[in-house]
C-alpha cells in the first residue's frame, strides 16, 4: 500500500495485534496458520492498529477481524470489496485489508473482483481458500474439485452435501482470473507455509494498489479432499527467474493445475489507483480556501441556478 500508516513511536510484535477474543475455529483449521502469518506481517510492516481496518464477509474465515486488535468490519456475505473500497477511497490515510473465504470472495462476491481490479484501490485482499463452505458445513465452493462420480455414487452425508454424486460444475482458477483482470498484484500462499505466507502478505500490504492473495487454508472438518497433505504434495515455489511483470508468463504460470505455484505471480506497478485519481480530482477542483468555506462555496453553487 502507498504511504502506510505505521506506529510511529513504537515497534509492535505479532502478539501486539492479538485481540482478547479467542478464535472459534475447529482444532486443525488452516485459518490459524493464516492468522499467525497475518500477525507477523502486520508487525513486520509495523502497521498502526488504530489506523488499520480489516474488512470481512460471512464465513468461518470471515470471523478473523474479531481476533485482531485493529478496527474491523464484519459485514454480510460477499461484500468485502465494496466496503473495503469505500473505506479506502473515503480515508486514504487508513490501511485497509480485506479477508474472507473462497465462497464469500469467488461465489456470491465474485462479481466485485474484476471491478476492484479495475479501480485498483490500495487494498490487500486475503482469501482463505479451503475449497469448501465451512460455516454452512461443507458444500462445494467455486474452487472445490469434486468430479462427477460416474460409477460408484458417494452418499456420505458428511461429504459434499449438495453434490453427493459429485459436482456438475468445473472449478475456477482465481489467480489466473485475477491476472486476466489485470489485478495489479496476484499471489498465492499456503497456510502451512506461514513464513512464506507472511513474506507474501508483507509484499501485498506494501504494494501500491489492489493485491489479491489466495491462500490454501484447508478445512479438516468438512473437506477430506483438499487437505494439508493434498497441498503439501501439489505446491511448489515459483522459480526465481519468473518475471511477475510479464502478464502472459504470469497467466501461464497461474494456469498450472497439476501443481500449484506459491509466491507472487503477477505485478503491474504502473496501474493507476482510483484512490490517487479521486484525490487528484478533489485537489484539482478544491478551492484555495478549501472546506472551511463550505457556505460560500454552497452559495456560489446555488447562485448558478438563479
Amino acid at each position: 500500500m502507498s504511504n502506510l500508516a505505521v506506529a510511529a513511536d513504537r515497534k509492535l510484535a505479532p502478539r501486539d495485534y492479538k485481540s482478547d477474543l479467542a478464535p472459534i475455529w475447529c482444532p486443525g483449521c488452516g485459518d490459524f496458520g493464516v492468522l499467525s502469518a497475518l500477525f507477523k506481517a502486520l508487525s513486520v510492516c509495523n502497521l498502526d492498529p488504530d489506523k488499520t481496518v480489516i474488512v470481512s464477509g460471512i464465513g468461518c474465515s470471515s470471523r478473523l477481524p474479531g481476533f485482531v486488535a485493529t478496527y474491523g468490519f464484519h459485514g454480510v456475505h460477499g461484500r468485502v470489496l465494496p466496503v473495503a473500497t469505500g473505506i479506502k477511497c473515503a480515508r486514504p490515510d487508513l490501511n485497509v485489508i480485506g479477508v474472507g473465504g473462497d465462497g464469500d470472495g469467488y461465489s456470491i462476491g465474485g462479481g466485485h473482483l474484476s471491478h476492484a481490479a479495475r479501480r485498483n484501490p490500495d487494498v490487500t485482499y486475503l482469501i482463505m481458500n479451503n475449497n469448501t463452505y465451512g460455516l454452512t458445513k461443507g458444500q462445494v465452493s467455486p474452487t472445490s474439485m469434486v468430479p462427477l462420480a460416474s460409477v460408484q455414487p458417494r452418499i456420505d452425508p458428511k461429504r459434499w452435501k449438495t453434490t453427493p454424486y459429485g459436482s456438475t460444475e468445473d472449478s475456477i482458477n482465481p489467480v489466473a482470473l485475477a491476472v486476466a483482470m489485470d489485478c495489479s498484484f496476484v499471489a498465492r500462499g499456503f497456510s502451512y507455509r506461514p513464513n512464506q505466507l507472511a513474506d507474501i502478505l508483507v509484499e501485498a500490504i506494501q504494494h501500491r494498489g489492489f493485491a489479491l492473495v489466495d491462500v490454501f487454508s484447508p478445512c479438516p472438518t468438512f473437506n477430506q479432499d483438499q487437505t494439508e497433505e493434498f497441498y503439501r504434495h501439489r505446491t511448489y515455489d515459483i522459480p526465481a527467474d519468473h518475471d511477475p511483470t510479464d502478464k502472459l508468463a504470469a497467466f501461464a504460470l497461474a494456469s498450472q493445475q497439476d501443481a500449484y505455484p506459491l509466491g507472487v505471480l503477477y505485478r503491474n506497478p504502473s496501474k493507476p489507483s482510483i484512490v490517487d485519481e479521486q484525490e487528484f480530482l478533489r485537489r484539482r477542483w478544491q478551492h484555495p480556501e478549501g472546506e472551511d468555506d463550505h457556505l460560500s462555496l454552497l452559495d456560489e453553487l446555488l447562485r448558478r441556478f438563479a
Binding site: L21, P49, D50, K51, T52, V53, V55, P65, G66, A69, T70, Y71, G72, F73, H74, G75, V76, R79, L81, P82, V83, A84, T85, G86, I87, K88, C89, A90, R91, D93, L94, G111, H112, H115, R119, I274, Q278, L281, R282, R284, W285, Q286, H287, G290, E291, H294, L295, L297, L298, D299, L301, L302, R303, F305, A306
Partner: protein, 606 residues
C-alpha cells in the same frame, strides 16, 4: 385561464407541448420556461417521457403564474401539438375556450366548438426562413444548420400569450450570437413570422394572458433532483456511490460535477449492492455518505440496508420512486415504494424513512436525512418521486446562513480509556461510535447479534436487550424531532375533512384545500415528512379535530393508509391510484367535497 385572470393583471396560464421525442418539444418548453422566468412569473412544469430513448411522444406542461404555484394546473389553456399521436394521447383535459396551436404540416385535428384552433405550418415556415439566407452560408455550415422550427413555434406562442417579443429576441441574440449574424437574423425573422402568422388568425380582440411581475428576490430554477443533490452537499456529503437508474441518475451526474470542489468523492459502482456497500464503508470510516436509486435498486439494497440498521452505521439511501413493479413504468411517477422502504428487511432493525414534499422542500428534507442518520446511527431512506425529481420549478433560494449540521456521537476520552464499548447500552440507545484512527477505539462492527463491546453473543437475554437498545433510538427520535417533521396546512381548528399525505402531493393538496376552503368547507392538511418511526402523537392529535380523514396517495393498495392504520387504528378514507401520473388538484378537491357532504360517525376522540 378563468375569465377574470384574463382581464386582471394576474397571470395563471397552463401551456402543454406535445410532440415526437427528440423533435425539440423539450427545447421549446425550456425556452418558454426561460421567457416566463424573465417575466417574473412562478413556474411549475411536468413532463412525461417514453421509456425508449428515441421515438414515442413527449409531453411538456408548464404553468406560469404570478405568485406561488402549487401544481402543473388541472386544465390546459394552450395546447401546442406538433404531431398527430401527441394530440390523440394528450389532447384532452383542456379548459373551456382553450386554444389549440397545431402543426398543420403534420395533421389536421377534428373540429371542436369548445376550442379555438390555430393552424401553423411550422416546418414549411421554418424551411422558408432557412431558404432566405442559404446564399449567405457555405455548404457545410448550411447542411448542419437546422431550420428554425422551435423559433417559429416560440414566436407563435408569444403572440398567443399576447406577450412582447423583445425578451425572446434578446434570448435569440444570446443563443445564436456566436453562429454569426445571418443565423441570428434568420431566427429573429422566424420568431416574427410565427407571431405574425398567429396574430392574423386571432384577429384584433386578443386577450393578454401574461403580465410581467416585478421580482424583488432572485429565484432559483431547479429540479427536485438538483435540489436533493445541493441539499446533500449542504449537509456535508463527502462520499457518493451509485449505479445509474431512471429517474435518479441525475443526482449522481450532478454530484460527479460538483462534489470534488467540496472535497468529496463520487464513484459509479458495478451495481446497487456495491454502491451501498461502498457507502457503508465510507460512513464507517467517518464520512457522510449517500447513494440514490429507484425501486429496482432499492430492492437490491435490502440486505445491506439491514446491516446498516443492525451494525448501526449512518447512511442516506435516496429512492426516487418510479412507476410499476419490477421494470414497470420506468419514466412515470408513483409512491409505491413506501412498503419496501418501511418493511424491506428480514427480521427487524431500526431505520428512518423521510419523504421530500416539493422541489423547494427537497433541499431541507435532505439535510434532515443526513442529520438523523448521524444522530441515530442508522440508515435513512429518503423518498422522492419522478414527478418532483425531474420537474423544473422556481423556488426562493434556501437561506443556508443558519444551516445546522449534527454529528454522530463519538466516544469520550473516559469511554475510550476504560474498555471502549461501541454498542454501549445507553438510555436513548445511542452508543459512542469511534472513527478509525481514534486511538483506543478499535472495535469490530458486525451484523451478528453482539454484546456492548461488539463480540458475537446469542443468548435470549442478550438478543432482547441489544434489540431493545437499538429500537430505543427510534423512540428518542420521535420525542426530539417528530413535531418538526410534520407540516400543517389549512385550518388549525376543527375541520370537516382532514387530509393526511406525504411526498409530492403537498402542492396539489394545498391547492385543492384552498379551493375548498374558499367555498366554505373546513379543511385541514397534515403533511408527513417523517414516515418511520411513525409520528403517532401528531397524527392522533390532528385526527382528533377532523370529522373525516382522507388519505390520498399514488399507490395501488393504499400503503400509506394502511401504515396509518397499523400505527393508530384510525379508519380513514383512502383516495388512491397508481397509473404513472400525479393527481390533479381537482381529483383531491372533488373527494373533499364528497366527504364534506357525507354524514360521519363523529370525530376521532379516542
Amino acid at each position: 385561464m378563468t375569465q377574470e385572470t384574463a382581464l386582471s393583471t394576474a397571470t395563471d396560464v397552463v401551456i402543454r407541448l406535445v410532440g415526437e421525442s427528440g423533435e425539440g418539444t423539450v427545447t421549446l418548453g425550456d425556452v418558454m420556461v426561460e421567457m416566463f422566468t424573465q417575466m417574473g412569473l412562478d413556474i411549475y412544469t411536468f413532463q412525461t417521457f417514453p421509456a425508449e430513448i428515441k421515438g414515442g411522444t413527449v409531453m411538456y406542461q408548464l404553468r406560469g403564474k404570478s405568485g406561488v404555484t402549487l401544481s402543473p394546473g388541472d386544465s390546459v389553456d394552450i395546447l401546442v401539438a406538433l404531431n398527430d399521436e401527441g394530440f390523440s394521447l394528450f389532447g384532452s383535459g383542456l379548459s373551456e375556450n382553450a386554444i389549440l396551436l397545431y402543426n398543420s404540416d403534420a395533421f389536421t385535428p377534428p373540429p371542436d366548438s369548445n376550442r379555438t384552433d390555430i393552424a401553423l405550418p411550422i416546418t414549411t415556415l421554418a424551411r422558408e426562413q432557412k431558404e432566405a439566407i442559404r446564399h449567405e452560408l457555405e455548404g457545410e455550415i448550411l447542411k448542419r444548420l437546422p431550420a428554425p422550427v422551435n423559433t417559429v413555434g416560440l414566436g407563435a406562442l408569444m403572440a398567443l400569450l399576447g406577450a412582447p417579443l423583445e425578451p425572446a429576441e434578446v434570448y435569440l441574440q444570446r443563443v445564436f450570437g456566436r453562429k454569426g449574424e445571418p443565423v441570428v437574423r434568420m431566427n429573429v425573422s422566424a420568431l416574427q413570422t410565427g407571431a405574425r402568422y398567429v396574430m392574423e388568425q386571432l384577429g384584433p380582440n386578443r386577450a393578454v394572458l401574461v403580465h410581467p411581475v416585478e421580482q424583488r428576490q432572485r429565484r432559483l430554477m431547479v429540479t427536485g433532483n438538483q435540489m436533493l443533490s445541493m441539499g446533500a452537499i449542504a449537509a456535508g456529503l463527502k462520499f457518493y456511490a451509485g449505479y445509474p437508474i431512471t429517474p435518479a441518475s441525475e443526482i449522481m451526474e450532478f454530484l460527479a460535477r460538483e462534489l470534488p470542489a467540496f472535497g468529496g468523492t463520487v464513484i459509479q459502482a458495478e451495481d446497487e449492492i456495491a454502491a451501498l456497500g461502498m457507502c457503508l464503508g465510507a460512513s464507517y470510516a467517518g464520512q457522510r455518505a449517500m447513494t440514490a436509486t429507484s425501486g429496482p435498486g432499492l430492492s437490491l439494497m435490502v440486505e445491506l440496508a439491514n446491516l446498516a440498521g443492525q451494525a448501526e452505521i449512518p447512511v442516506v439511501i435516496t429512492d426516487v420512486q418510479r412507476g410499476g413493479a419490477s421494470t414497470g413504468l420506468p419514466t412515470k411517477t408513483s409512491q409505491g415504494d413506501l412498503n419496501l422502504a418501511i418493511y424491506g428487511m428480514h427480521n427487524e432493525s431500526p431505520r428512518v424513512v423521510l419523504a421530500c414534499s416539493s422541489v423547494e422542500d427537497t433541499f431541507w428534507t435532505t439535510i434532515e436525512a443526513f442529520n438523523l442518520a448521524e444522530e441515530f446511527q442508522c440508515p435513512v431512506i429518503l423518498l422522492s418521486d419522478q414527478s418532483m425529481a425531474t420537474r423544473r420549478s422556481t423556488v426562493p433560494p434556501p437561506d443556508v446562513s443558519h444551516l445546522q449540521l449534527v454529528d454522530r456521537r463519538t466516544p469520550t476520552d473516559e469511554e475510550l480509556a476504560n474498555g471502549y464499548k461501541r454498542y454501549l447500552d445507553t438510555e436513548d440507545g445511542i452508543s459512542p461510535m469511534a472513527i478509525p484512527g481514534t486511538p483506543g477505539g478499535a472495535y469490530t462492527s458486525t451484523g451478528i447479534e453482539h454484546d456492548e463491546v461488539g463480540d458475537p453473543g446469542y443468548t435470549p437475554e442478550l438478543a432482547t436487550r441489544m434489540k431493545a437498545k437499538r429500537f430505543r433510538k427510534m423512540a428518542a427520535l420521535l420525542e426530539r424531532h417528530a413535531n418538526r417533521l410534520v407540516r400543517h396546512w389549512g385550518t388549525p381548528d376543527e375541520a370537516d375533512v382532514g387530509i393526511i399525505a406525504y411526498g409530492s402531493l403537498e402542492g396539489v393538496i394545498r391547492e385543492a384545500t384552498e379551493r375548498a376552503e374558499s367555498e366554505g368547507i373546513r379543511v385541514a392538511h397534515l403533511h408527513l415528512r417523517l414516515l418511520q418511526p411513525f409520528p403517532r402523537q401528531q397524527v392522533l392529535e390532528f385526527a382528533a379535530r377532523c370529522r373525516t380523514v382522507l388519505v390520498p396517495e399514488l399507490t395501488w393498495s393504499g400503503q400509506l393508509a394502511n401504515w396509518i392504520k397499523v400505527n393508530t387504528n384510525l379508519s380513514v378514507a383512502s383516495l388512491r391510484k397508481d397509473d404513472g401520473l400525479p393527481f390533479l388538484s381537482s381529483d383531491i378537491y372533488r373527494r373533499i367535497c364528497e366527504l364534506a357532504d357525507t354524514p360521519h360517525e363523529g370525530r376521532y376522540h379516542q
